[in-house]
Symmetry: C2
Subunit: 242 residues, 2 copies
C-alpha cells in the first residue's frame, strides 16, 4: 500500500483521490473541534464553505436542534452560536445537535476531496483510533494537511508525520517524499508535540488573539477513541468497530 | 524581510511573486545542469515547455550555435543534442552555444513564475553565490522547489532548507512554516547531503535508469560561483559582482 501527504491546499485540483482513504487534518482547530463535538454527543456536522451557505443549510434542516459554528480569522462569525474553539463544544451545548460548520481551512479541505473511498477526520486527539481505521480499510492513504489561509501549516504536517510513523509500526507502506518528510518533521517534535503548535504561524496567531488554551487542548494525543467520517456531505460518527 | 518556500508546483497559480526574489531549485537535475552549462561557457539557456516548442524556438534563432537539450522521464528526447545530465554539458560541447532546454519539472517551474523582481537559478552547486546574490538584492525571497512530475521532491526542499539556513547566518528573515520545515529537514541531512538525494523518489528513479553518477555530481556543494538569472524568458549569466 502507498501512503502520501498532501502538503498544500493548492494540490486539491491536481490530485486523484479515487478510491483512496483520505484523512483530513486541521489540528488548529477544525478537526480537533469536530472530534470534540462528536465525543460530546453531537448528531452530525455539516461542513460548508461560507457563512451564507451555513444560514441556508440551517433553514433547510427541519430540525430545531441545529447550531451554527465557525470562524473567520479565528474569531466566531457574527450571529453564529459557536466559534471554532473545541472548548465551546461541550456536552451541554452540542449533545443531540446538528452543527453546520464553516472554517477558513478545515471545511474547505473537507469540500476539496472528491471521489475518495473513505474520508476520515484526523487530529492529534484521535491518532490511534484513526490508524486502526486506516488499517481496517486497507487501501492507499492520502493524509491531507488543511493548511492556513491557503498556506502550508507546520502543525498539520507534524500530525501527518505521526500518523505515517504509527501506521508503519504495524504495516508496510510505500511512502512518498512528502510522507517521508512528514515523518522526519514529526521525529523532531516527538518528545514535545506542543512545541510544534506553539512554533507554527497559526499557533502563534491564535495565541495573539487569545486562544492559547486551545493550543493546549489541540496538542493532546489520543483524547478520543473515535473516527468521524464524511459521507454525502455530512460528517457522521457511528461505531466502526475499530 | 520574509523568506518562504513553495513546496509544490500546484502553488504557482495561487502565489504572488510580484517584486520578490524567486529562486528556482531543481537539484535533480535541471538547475544543476543549467549551472554546469554556464560554468562551461554557454551563451544563454532558453527554457521551453515542450519538445515541439523547443524545435520552433531553435528555428527562430538565426544562430548556428544552438543546441536542443532536455528529457522526458529522465531520458534524452529523441532527435535532441543533449539530455538533462550535467555530465553532458562539457566545455567542448556547450561553449558559445544557445541551449533550448525542456525538462519535466525545472523548465515548468521557470515558466510558472510571473512578475518576480529577480529569478535566480539555484542548486546545491551554487549555494554560497546564490545566498550572496539574494542578500545583495535585499527583497523578500521565495524558494521554489520544482518537484517531480507534479509532486513534492525531498532533495529540492533539503536544498531550500540549506539556503534558508545560510541566509539566516548573516541576516534576519521572518520565515514561514514552510521555510522552517525546510530548515529542519536540511539539518537532518546536514552531515550527508548525498543521502537526501539517494533517499528521494526522484534520486532512486534516476539510479534505476542508469544515472547514479548524476546524483554524485548534483550533491556537490559550491562547485560553481555563479548565479544565472531569468530575464525576458532567457536565462543569462553576467558578472553580478557577487
Amino acid at each position: 500500500m502507498n501512503i502520501d501527504v498532501l502538503l498544500h491546499p493548492a494540490e486539491f485540483k491536481v490530485r486523484d483521490f479515487e478510491g483512496k482513504v483520505v484523512v483530513i487534518i486541521d489540528v488548529l482547530r477544525a478537526t480537533t473541534t469536530i472530534l470534540t463535538a462528536f465525543a460530546n454527543g453531537c448528531k452530525r456536522v455539516i461542513p460548508v464553505l461560507t457563512p451564507e451557505e451555513a444560514m441556508e443549510v440551517k433553514y433547510t434542516i427541519i430540525d430545531a436542534c441545529t447550531l451554527l459554528g465557525g470562524e473567520r480569522r479565528g474569531i466566531k462569525i457574527n450571529g453564529f452560536d459557536l466559534g471554532n474553539s473545541p472548548s465551546e463544544y461541550t456536552r451541554e451545548v452540542v449533545q443531540g445537535q446538528n452543527i453546520v460548520l464553516t472554517t477558513t481551512n478545515g471545511t474547505k479541505a473537507l469540500r476539496g476531496v472528491r471521489g475518495a473511498g473513505s474520508i476520515f477526520i484526523g487530529a492529534l486527539s484521535n491518532i490511534s483510533a484513526l490508524c486502526r481505521a486506516c488499517h481496517k480499510v486497507g487501501e492507499d492513504i492520502i493524509l491531507v494537511t488543511s493548511g492556513r489561509a491557503g498556506s502550508f501549516s507546520l502543525e498539520d504536517l507534524v500530525c501527518a508525520g505521526m500518523i505515517v510513523s504509527k501506521l508503519r509500526e504495524t504495516s508496510t507502506y510505500k511512502e512518498t517524499d512528502a510522507a517521508f518528510a512528514a515523518q522526519l518533521l514529526f521525529s523532531h517534535f516527538k518528545r514535545d508535540i506542543k512545541t510544534a503548535l506553539y512554533t507554527s504561524e497559526h499557533g502563534r496567531y491564535l495565541c495573539e488573539i487569545g486562544f492559547e488554551s486551545d493550543l493546549e487542548i489541540c496538542a493532546q494525543v489520543d483524547t478520543y477513541d473515535i473516527v468521524p467520517f464524511l459521507a454525502n456531505e455530512n460528517i457522521n460518527y457511528s461505531e466502526l468497530n475499530i
